[in-house]
């Protein structure tokens, strides 16, 4: 029920601008983007889909920042493990 899935907007419906076709991993569906009327999504942008409605736009910059944090942690972890391994050799 909390089910929200990211999808890419492919096109806005010509006759009904509050409908958009989205692509989720090759699967396409029409959804209602009426809740984003303040700042409607454009083709190529990503949205969070919940029961046939777009609830929010996915902020690519924030997503990149989140990934950067995780990468950083991952790298620090790798470094630590490498250091640990090296220190065992002595």
């Amino acid at each position: 029920m909390c089910l929200g899935i990211p999808g890419e907007v492919i096109e806005i419906h010509a006759d009904q601008p509050d409908l958009a076709k989205v692509n989720v991993s090759g699967v396409k569906r029409l959804i209602n983007i009426g809740l984003l009327s303040d700042d409607p999504p454009k083709p190529g942008e990503w949205v969070l889909i919940h029961v046939g409605f777009a609830l929010s736009k996915i902020d690519e910059a924030e997503a990149a920042a989140a990934m950067a944090f995780l990468e950083g942690i991952g790298q620090a972890y790798e470094d630590e493990i490498a250091a640990l391994r090296e220190s065992l050799i002595e």
Partner: protein, 395 residues
């Protein structure tokens, strides 16, 4: 406690039993009085109690048949065991494999039956006729038999277009030719408008089991490898999208296909195959549970290793369904001795229908009866039998 307080479950006795068991287990026997057991031990007690409850004799608690009973999961299993197995009970029926093995005239025959109620009748990749022939051929083939002859019984709805019926028959003819089987007898009934959704098909199939082939899920042993012959979930998702109720488009089509050639290749390369199953209703997860239960072994599979097409994965994510429970119609799950895994995968991949065959996991000794999945993330979780019916009328 009265039946009213418990709700619709008419029989309160089993709840009272469960409560009694719980209270009994709660009192740890200790001379000093009440001792606090460590959390994990208490949890383990509960898990043991659940395990005992699951192994109890099956009973159908509902008064009426529901769609769950047709989903291929827990309810179907309970219905079959509690009603049909109980009533018909005989040693030939008990294995409850995809086909029955009959000893006749010094040889062994495999006999199977299936009914097809798929809606819609025509879908990307095939139609009800294809399913009917391929499904029957496959049930025989996974039993180690060379499929030979099929029957075809039709229940037609008044008003069903003859042109569509002809199309279905032609599909069946082509499928039979491709599989090398012959449809030798049949039956036709017509029921009033509104009572058959166009067309239902029932089939029976018979084949001959070679002298040296013995397969069955109860033969699985710790150390065995579990192999799937290709990407899962194609058929179920195709049907769901073809119903048009969900406004979803995707480039998927049913994987319906006759697998006798593929299986012959596998048996040729790996004569020691322990078991094979046709992954239809209930999906791969149901078969893994059948293996765990029949052989009383644990099953451990790895999410990363299970082949799923991106579109099937996308549709499943969108709808909140697990692809492991989605039906296939042209895939087998095979259990082979661990050291034959490579040879088995090679043999399957040699055949066009097995191009994406992969080892998805192993039979293990710990936690018998339970199927576990190592998630792509690295954690572990249980893959239980399907409850309910996410995708009705799939095949």
């Amino acid at each position: 406690m009265t039946a009213d307080q418990v709700g619709h479950q008419a029989d309160p006795g089993w709840i009272a039993d469960a409560l009694r068991e719980h209270d009994h287990a709660q009192r740890p026997e200790s001379p000093e009085g009440r001792t606090r057991l460590p959390v994990t031990d208490r949890e383990q007690q509960v898990l043991d109690r659940i395990d005992r409850a699951r192994r109890r004799r099956p009973r159908v608690r509902e008064e009426r048949v529901t769609m769950s009973h047709g989903a291929g999961g827990k309810a179907t299993q309970t219905l079959i065991e509690a009603v049909f197995l109980e009533t018909f009970r005989n040693p030939l029926l008990e294995p409850l494999e995809d086909a029955a093995e009959l000893r006749i005239l010094g040889g062994r025959l495999a006999l199977t039956t299936d009914s097809y109620v798929v809606s819609p009748l025509f879908f990307p990749g095939g139609d009800i006729g294809d399913l009917a022939v391929n499904g029957t051929v496959n049930d025989l083939s996974v039993s180690g038999a060379t499929p030979l002859y099929l029957t075809a019984g039709f229940i037609l709805e008044e008003g069903f277009p003859v042109a569509q019926l002809t199309q279905v028959a032609e599909s069946m003819r082509k499928a039979a030719d491709a599989a090398g089987v012959c449809i030798v007898t049949g039956d036709t009934k017509v029921v009033q408008r509104g009572k058959a959704d166009g067309c239902y098909i029932n089939t029976a199939g018979v084949g001959v089991i070679a002298r040296d082939v013995t397969v069955g899920v109860a033969r699985a042993q710790p150390g065995d490898a579990i192999i799937v012959s290709g990407p899962i979930g194609d058929h179920g998702i195709t049907i769901m999208l073809a119903r048009g109720e969900l406004d979803i488009e995707a480039d998927v089509c049913s994987d319906t296909a006759p697998l006798n050639g593929l299986i012959a290749g596998l048996l040729g390369a790996v004569p020691g195959v322990r078991a094979m199953r046709d992954a239809t209703r209930g999906g791969v997860a149901t078969i893994l549970n059948e293996i765990a239960r029949a052989a009383d072994v644990g099953v451990l599979v790895s999410e990363d290793d299970i082949p799923v097409r991106p579109e099937v994965r996308g549709a499943c994510e969108l709808l909140g369904i697990d692809p492991m429970y989605v039906a296939c119609e042209g895939r087998i799950v095979a259990v082979v001795p661990g050291d034959s895994a490579d040879a088995a995968v090679r043999a399957l991949r040699d055949h066009p229908l097995g191009a994406d065959a992969a080892v998805i996991g192993h039979v293990v000794a710990d936690q018998p009866g339970i199927v576990r999945l190592r998630t792509a993330f690295g954690g572990t979780r249980i893959v239980d039998l399907l409850v309910g019916d996410p995708l009705p009328r799939i095949c």
